[in-house]
């Protein structure tokens, strides 16, 4: 039996610590108090060693699990043990490989190496059904459900109760799903179509779906990210109940105070490796954070003093029929304006509207004092406003096309004469940015899809710099990027600001916002919830504004 705890690698530097502790924080109303506690220095505690004997034997064990994607080693020898009647917290930075592990455990991906043991026996999953047969169920991070189908069917699809004749038993499905939803206190009618639910309600449906299969092992991948305080409480009650039934639970969350409440054991992932595991009571937040980050993170935010110049962009009264309303702000040369808010606050929509993807209903935009009318992305680019989108693979890069062609896609005019592309100029331009950003690629003709997330992001940012913009809008620029590239992207953004570019940076990560931004605008439910200066800004202020929970600050 593998021991429940592992030594922290020497690369983890104990003692030094900064605000970065909140890394990966998906903010929500309840996270205020622990957040500040995380931000205090706590000396490293020795990893919980003994006590293994008292624990029940693991129900599920993972040994040396590896999973590679083109350009990314998502998992690299992961070890994990889940025990019956206990909740194991899995923590790790964005991109550490947590969700990948979940997908392996649910049979969606097959591991490249390593073994899965259930009740001590080796098992391999041919597909999701096999995992279900092995009595594993999961709430996935993204709600992967069916818009056109009803809530009831979403819950029971794939394992619907049948009548004697083998037909789908609709009355039973409706009755049981109603009971399940009632059990988690979710006020949703089973006959509603999923497309008419809010994100939070969808999450509740996903939870109900996971609970609809009778299983021994329950995995929850950030189940609380989109839930309100009350819904989170309801979920915890469910978790306690499952625990009482002797199930083994894997609980993934970035919110330590939640983990404190439900978890018995912990495991920490960093860059696809297990860097620590043990009993929750033997560890404190700072140690967890240090294991997650694995180094001092002071230099992650290289934002130096940049000279903030004249006003470049002025947005006023900007509105959209359904997404946002009455947004006004200004942006100056060399300034980084952070935009903070909860997931779904409408920030991406605002950015996309500024960039000409969607039309606003009201409001004005002025660039360099001149009023702009942006009807298309081409207009925006011509005016000098560019946008690095949140969904890199969908909106940012053309994954199947080579690096060169991605790099010049926004400025084809600059590398062509009378519409004919000059191959030499194209390569020269691409190489210029590749070298400036220290791009890790085998060649410039390599498809962007084969690069790691961070390098993909460098290509996308390079694409926009090649158009020589005045304003760059970055939407979650470090989402899904490994820690090394993250620092590189931060350095890059700081550089750009120093060189006089005006930067609007949307981020859900408090440390990133706090570390990078000169000023922060907070959005809540499509409206401005305040603008704050860097000076003296605390995470509490931002979270309070983003959640509307102003009382909590006091």
């Amino acid at each position: 039996m593998t021991g429940p705890s592992r030594p922290i690698p020497s690369s983890a530097l104990p003692g030094t610590f900064s605000r970065h502790a909140g890394e990966g924080q998906r903010t929500h109303p309840g996270s205020l108090a622990p957040l500040s506690s995380v931000l205090k220095f706590v000396p490293p505690a020795p990893p919980g060693a003994a006590a293994a004997a008292r624990l029940p034997a693991p129900l599920l064990e993972l040994r040396g699990i590896c999973k590679h994607f083109p350009g990314v080693k998502a998992l690299d020898g992961v070890e994990l043990a889940l025990r019956p009647g206990r909740v194991t917290a899995l923590v790790g930075e964005n991109g550490a490989g947590k969700s990948t592990l979940v997908k392996i455990l649910t049979g969606i991906y097959r591991p490249d190496a390593g073994e899965i043991l259930i009740g001590g026996e080796r098992i391999a999953f041919a597909g999701p059904e096999a995992a279900q047969a092995a009595r594993i169920t999961a709430i996935h991070q993204e709600t992967v459900l069916f818009d056109e189908l009803t809530v009831a069917e979403n819950i029971y699809l794939g394992h619907a109760p049948r009548t004697r004749f083998g037909l789908v038993d609709w009355p039973a499905i409706r009755a049981r799903s109603a009971a399940l939803l009632y059990g988690i206190d979710a006020p949703i009618r089973p006959s509603t179509r999923l497309k008419d639910l809010s994100i939070a309600q969808r999450h509740l449906v996903a939870i109900a779906r996971a609970l609809s299969v009778d299983s021994e092992i329950v995995i929850m991948d950030e189940p609380t990210a989109a839930l309100s305080h009350k819904e989170v409480e309801d979920l915890f009650r469910v978790v306690e109940r499952l625990k009482g039934q002797g199930k083994a639970i894997l609980f993934i969350s970035h919110k330590f105070e939640e983990l404190d409440r439900v978890a018995d054991d912990y495991a920490v992932f960093r860059d696809g490796r297990t860097v620590g595991a043990g009993r929750m009571e033997d560890v404190d937040h700072a140690t967890l954070v240090r294991m997650m980050v694995g180094r001092s993170v002071d230099q992650v935010f290289p934002k130096g003093k940049s000279d903030i110049g004249d006003e470049v962009l002025a947005v006023s009264g900007y509105s959209h029929p359904t997404e946002f309303d009455d947004i006004s702000f200004t942006l100056r040369r060399g300034e980084i304006l952070g935009v903070y808010g909860l997931v779904g606050a409408g920030r991406s929509e605002l950015c996309q509207s500024l960039f000409g993807v969607t039309a606003p209903s009201r409001g004005t935009v002025a660039l360099d004092g001149r009023a702009l009318r942006i009807r298309s992305t081409a207009d925006a680019i011509r005016a000098g406003l560019v946008y690095v989108p949140e969904e890199r693979g969908r909106h940012g890069a053309v994954l199947a096309m080579p690096i060169v062609e991605n790099a010049t896609l926004g400025c084809l005019g600059a590398v062509s004469r009378r519409g004919f592309i000059r191959a030499a100029e194209e390569f020269a331009l691409a190489r210029h940015y590749a070298e400036r950003f220290d791009l890790r690629a085998a060649s410039l003709s390599q498809p962007v899809g084969t690069l790691s997330g961070g390098n993909q992001q460098k290509v996308v940012i390079g694409k926009w710099l090649a158009t020589r913009p005045k304003v760059i809008v970055l939407d979650e620029p470090t989402k899904g990027i490994d820690i090394g590239s993250k620092a590189a992207v931060h350095g890059l953004v700081a550089d750009l600001a120093r060189q006089g570019l005006a930067v609007l940076m949307v981020s859900s990560e408090l440390p990133e916002i706090l570390g990078m931004a000169d000023r922060v605008m907070v959005m809540r439910e499509g409206r401005m919830a305040g603008t704050f200066d860097r000076h003296g800004l605390t995470p509490e202020t931002l979270v309070a504004a983003a959640t509307g929970n102003l009382g909590a600050v006091a």
């Binding site: 992305t377 096309m401 070298e435 003709s445």
Partner: protein
């Protein structure tokens, strides 16, 4: 355009100084050797050889020249269709467009128009049909496969409405040249036009910003729009171009037949799509080359002509073509999979 960038001088050793990234790892000729086009060329050569062995009449320049008439008009449409498919759309209305354009030419001829006017009418009606398709797809956002199934019936239907059981056949003698004339020796106007258009299409797709934009749209229309490309306008243009190509084909076909009936060019859409797909254009958009399409057109021409020389019924030819379509696409997939399996085993 020089490709000097591929010179070995650039491949600096790793680690020393600022990292340099080579332009490409695989030299262009090696890439070509492993490409779809190379495979098609091989197929073309094989078919040519088989034809030459099977029929004593095959290796005759006049015969080969005659053979081009069987596929040139469709191949011209395929050149334009390649762009549409490349951009992730499809146009199934080309046969109907040819019929309507030819009918319009017939009506114009009946009204006393001369050859130049007739050519303009054919091209114009073709372009108008393409424009309508383009508006449906790019402006109204309809799925092109369904929208053009509709316009396919609509265009041919209009030509039935106009012509009924009648026929237009009193075309000026000059028009025949477009379908039967020779530019130089055995080089027909049709085939010469095809060659010129093929070169033009190749240059546009592979050397211009427009071609790059089309490829980007086919790969990822969202990312293309987010990169400032005018996706709708480009798609509209591609449909117009396809309509125009169908119009040109209508001019040639009308010249070749010397008459118009509403059933003209029936079922061409499938032949054209077959050429495009066989040519290696990904039906889901984003990849493929013009040379591939050109070679595929010639391969299909050689196959059908060779079988024709042996008096094999046309439907047997279509079995061969159907099997070739599935086979040429399935084979590389299966081979790749088998290789991958052996590597992991």
């Amino acid at each position: 355009m020089t490709l000097e960038a591929a010179s070995p001088a650039r491949a600096a050793p790793e680690g020393a100084g600022p990292r340099t990234i080579p332009d490409r790892l695989v030299p262009p000729w090696r890439r070509f050797a492993a490409s779809w086009e190379a495979m098609l060329l091989g197929v073309a050569a094989t078919v040519f050889l088989i034809d030459a062995l099977a029929s004593p009449y095959f290796l005759d320049l006049w015969n080969l020249s005659d053979a081009t008439f069987n596929f040139t008009e469709k191949a011209i449409i395929a050149l334009a269709m390649a762009f549409v498919v490349m951009a992730g759309e499809i146009d199934l209305s080309v046969g109907g467009t040819v019929a309507l354009a030819s009918t319009a030419m017939g009506a114009a001829a009946a009204a006393g128009a001369g050859t130049p006017v007739l050519v303009l009418v054919g091209l114009g009606v073709g372009a108008a049909c393409g424009l309508f398709n383009g508006l449906l797809v790019a402006r109204l956002g309809l799925p092109s496969i369904m929208a053009t199934v509709g316009t396919m019936s609509l265009y041919r239907g209009l030509s039935y409405v106009a012509l009924g059981d009648g026929v237009y056949k009193d075309y000026p003698a000059g028009l025949a040249w477009f379908g039967q004339g020779y530019v130089w020796q055995m080089l027909s106007f049709e085939f010469a036009s095809f060659l010129v258009l093929a070169v033009a299409a190749g240059v546009v797709l592979h050397r211009t910003t427009f071609g790059r934009a089309v490829r980007a749209i086919g790969n990822n229309a969202f990312a293309a729009r987010f990169s400032g490309l005018r996706v709708e306008r480009i798609k509209l243009l591609l449909f117009v171009a396809t309509g125009l190509a169908a119009g040109l084909a209508a001019v040639m076909l009308t010249g070749r037949l010397g008459s118009t009936r509403p059933s003209i060019a029936l079922g061409w859409e499938l032949d054209v799509v077959t050429v495009v797909v066989l040519g290696g254009i990904d039906i889901q958009g984003g990849s493929g080359t013009v040379p591939g399409v050109v070679i595929a057109a010639i391969v299909l021409g050689l196959v059908t002509y060779g079988l024709g020389l042996l008096n094999v019924p046309g439907i047997i030819m279509s079995i061969v073509v159907g099997l070739m379509l599935i086979g040429t696409i399935a084979l590389p997939i299966l081979v790749r999979r088998a290789l991958a399996r052996r590597r992991t085993a």
